[in-house]
């Protein structure tokens, strides 16, 4: 595909082992696209490896977490006036083949296109707790805003310019922009759509949402959802 106006943002924390295969796979499928690896103050050679593989690398001076790292890349895309910014995981979970329909959806007018595990037959969907969490957040998002989403916590997203603008706001939920981000997007009257995406099991054993941290995550997300649903409207139309 010939897409110099597409930027892949890959937030990465100590991913030097996974990056080569992820970036090579990505470059094979999207030779023209720009790839930016945002190293979240990694202790290993994440940024160096990314640069050796021909990607751009941005190194945060200290740890900001997933949301802050992704937002860094989105700000970059916004400044470079990229038509589409795709957020892509560094652990090999996402399949470059699923990105085509997402980019096309943005080119067809969507502001936010989400890769959904639920729409893809035979996709890896995570354990029972994660599936339950996704169902709960999806239900809440629907009750609060009428937004129908099958996979509100997916990290694979394609953003058009207005989507990028929303995600780059200073006060945007920058911990884990999941269901709350989509509720905000909906309230900003952005066009949100879903396409099937097959996820592979993460190659990283220390996944972001796993274990003990899922308890505060759940409460933070519930609160963040309520805040997103009741806070001031974001108006991106000027």
């Amino acid at each position: 595909m010939n897409d110099p106006d597409v930027l892949f943002v890959i937030p990465a924390l100590n991913e030097e082992a996974n990056l080569p295969s992820v970036i090579q796979e990505l470059r094979a499928a999207w030779p023209e696209a720009l790839v930016l690896v945002v190293s979240d103050a990694s202790a290993d050679g994440t940024a160096r490896v990314a640069r050796e593989l021909g990607a751009q690398a941005a190194s945060l001076p200290f740890h900001l977490g997933y949301g802050g790292a992704v937002q860094t890349g989105i700000k970059y895309g916004l400044r470079q006036r990229m038509r589409v910014v795709v957020t892509f995981d560094a652990d090999g979970q996402h399949d470059p083949a699923d990105v085509g329909p997402l980019v096309q959806a943005v080119r067809d007018g969507a502001d936010v296109a989400i890769g959904s595990r639920a729409l893809a037959a035979g996709s890896y969907r995570g354990g029972i707790a994660r599936r339950g969490g996704r169902a709960l957040f999806g239900l809440l998002a629907r009750l609060l805003t009428g937004l129908q989403l099958t996979d509100p916590t997916s990290g694979l997203k394609a953003l058009g310019p207005r989507g990028q603008e929303l995600f780059a706001l200073s006060r945007f939920p920058d911990r884990y922009p999941d269901a709350d981000a989509l509720v905000l997007a909906r309230r900003a009257r952005l066009v949100i759509t879903e396409r099937p995406a097959r996820m592979r099991p993460s190659r990283n054993r220390r996944s972001m949402h796993g274990g003990v941290r899922s308890v505060p995550y759940t409460f933070n997300m519930l609160f963040s959802l309520l805040v997103a649903a009741t806070g001031r409207d974001v108006d991106l139309r000027r």
Binding site: Q56, L60, G68
Partner: protein, 115 residues
């Protein structure tokens, strides 16, 4: 209020006021943060010199002993101060995050792509 108490507490309040003004003078404490402290000092001084105001206030809020009114006011003041600082910290957190992202992007621009 016994004279001894008046003297001791008045001295303490004036000392605190002097410390705060000195901190502001040395720019260790920013002016906008000093108002809350100066207000607290002045309130204390007024209440020491005019104890009947505290008694009146006690009747107003429905408390029995003036001491409880005083404690109530202190706790309320400290709680509000903490809230004020939480708000400031949240604001600063946003700014620090934005700055860190800016640093990362500028750094990336300087280092450039390798190919």
């Amino acid at each position: 209020m016994p004279t001894r108490q008046v003297v001791v507490f008045l001295a303490l309040a004036l000392l605190l006021l002097a410390v705060i003004l000195e901190l502001v003078r040395r720019r260790t404490l920013r002016i906008e943060y000093s108002w809350l402290w100066i207000a607290a000092c002045l309130t204390t001084i007024v209440l020491i010199l005019r104890y009947e105001l505290l008694v009146e206030l006690t009747g107003l809020v429905g408390a029995v002993v003036p001491t409880s009114t005083l404690f109530f006011l202190c706790i309320l003041y400290l709680a509000l101060l903490c809230l004020h600082y939480s708000i400031r910290i949240s604001h600063l957190t946003h700014r620090v995050k934005d700055l860190a992202q800016e640093v990362a992007l500028l750094r990336s621009h300087l280092e450039g792509p390798s190919d």
